[in-house]
Symmetry: C2
Subunit: 231 residues, 2 copies
């Protein structure tokens, strides 16, 4: 694990932690948008461009704690799901050598709707209409979207974007927003009811439509199986 | 991305790259074993204990290049598959702060059977019978095994453990070794033939058993879909 030659070669590598934070935003009759908060850089490199929330890893701080801290500092958001995404460390991705450990997070739409900190340098963007991004952050976001679309197919992470009680139509809209296309309501109902992961409640959502039963998900089960990872 | 207070707090973090290298080993009538090479540490911390092959990340070296280099330096092996596994960076995992970027690799059994470098401090171990391991390397190996078992179910990475031409029985044994249980030959044949990912050749394996057709896999398709990751 140690090299016999000089130590200088790896002392110039700095470790950053950044987070891709997904939420949904409803608007009109269209599918909800998948949105994420970005932070405008106030210094070089890439001053003025938008970037993922993040910061330097502190020597006394665990990785996931650093992700949560930088997420709270820049957006004041608490995620319902947080997972390590990937490490981006190409030599040329920054003027100095920076290894970025990237996490991805889900934030419920009602949580994401609380105002961001009074800061013109923090804003939500539609993932389908991103501004110019600093460093390799566009490809990081593309990879995170790919992971989100894949994972929604074999885990229950869609629930991370929903409040505790939700209708089947609301759950279907999460899948539709992530997949980018409408789903057949009857087929969808059959599939999720057959999966046995939803718990029907005795409550109903009432309003302009006919009453719709509210469901909740089982908190005893993790949203995604992360295997024997140390906690 | 930059902090206004002192830089010292993150200058004491060093970045290492390690690799979990899986291969198979046949022996007798039992299932083949999933094996991996380990390196005995010759200095503290954990002198004398076995550890994953690895080394410090060089400032001018990409992550995957560092994984390939340390893999070649310690074991002289060339993998048929190499993928980033996870970053392990807990504060307490080493006396000094070390963030380990871990890759996992597959090596074909015929490649793994070539002798290791003349070094009593490098040896192959059965993953079912590991020695005492340095740092958190046991839980890293457990996580890599979990990833291998999961990924074999939804990708074609089993082919990374096989030579270019193989029989259905040899492919089945890879799945059996990773899953740890025998599979029904007729069911297995039906499933893989139905998947359409195997190309039958006109060659046959002859020997003590009746001739068995040799198959190859389509090199045009990646062993696993890694999405829009930068190469």
């Amino acid at each position: 694990m140690t090299r016999s030659n000089g130590e200088a070669a790896h002392d110039d590598i700095r470790v950053a932690v950044s987070t891709v934070i997904f939420s949904l935003r409803h608007g009109g009759e269209d599918l909800p948008s998948v949105v994420l908060p970005l932070v405008r850089r106030t210094r070089d490199p890439h001053a003025g461009q938008w970037a993922l929330p993040g910061g330097w890893l502190d020597v006394s701080e665990n990785l996931e704690a650093a992700a949560s801290r930088t997420l709270a500092e820049t957006t004041a958001l608490t995620p319902s799901y947080l997972e390590q995404l990937y490490v981006f460390g190409d030599v040329g991705r920054s003027p100095s050598r920076v290894v970025s450990i990237v996490y991805w997070a889900l934030v419920r739409e009602d949580v994401a709707s609380t105002p961001l900190p009074e800061d013109e340098n923090v804003a939500w963007f539609d993932t389908a209409d991103l501004p110019e991004l600093a460093f390799d952050h566009r490809s990081i976001i593309e990879y995170a979207l790919w992971r989100l679309r894949n994972k929604v197919g074999y885990s229950r992470i869609a629930h991370g974007l929903l409040p505790d009680l939700f209708t089947l139509a609301e759950l279907r809209e999460v899948y539709e927003a992530i997949g980018g296309k409408r789903l057949d309501p009857a087929n969808f109902r059959r599939q999720v009811e057959g999966s046995g992961t939803l718990i029907p409640t005795r409550e109903f959502r009432t309003g302009s439509h006919r009453p719709a039963r509210l469901y909740r998900y089982n908190h005893d089960v993790e949203l995604a199986d992360r295997g024997p990872l140390p906690r």
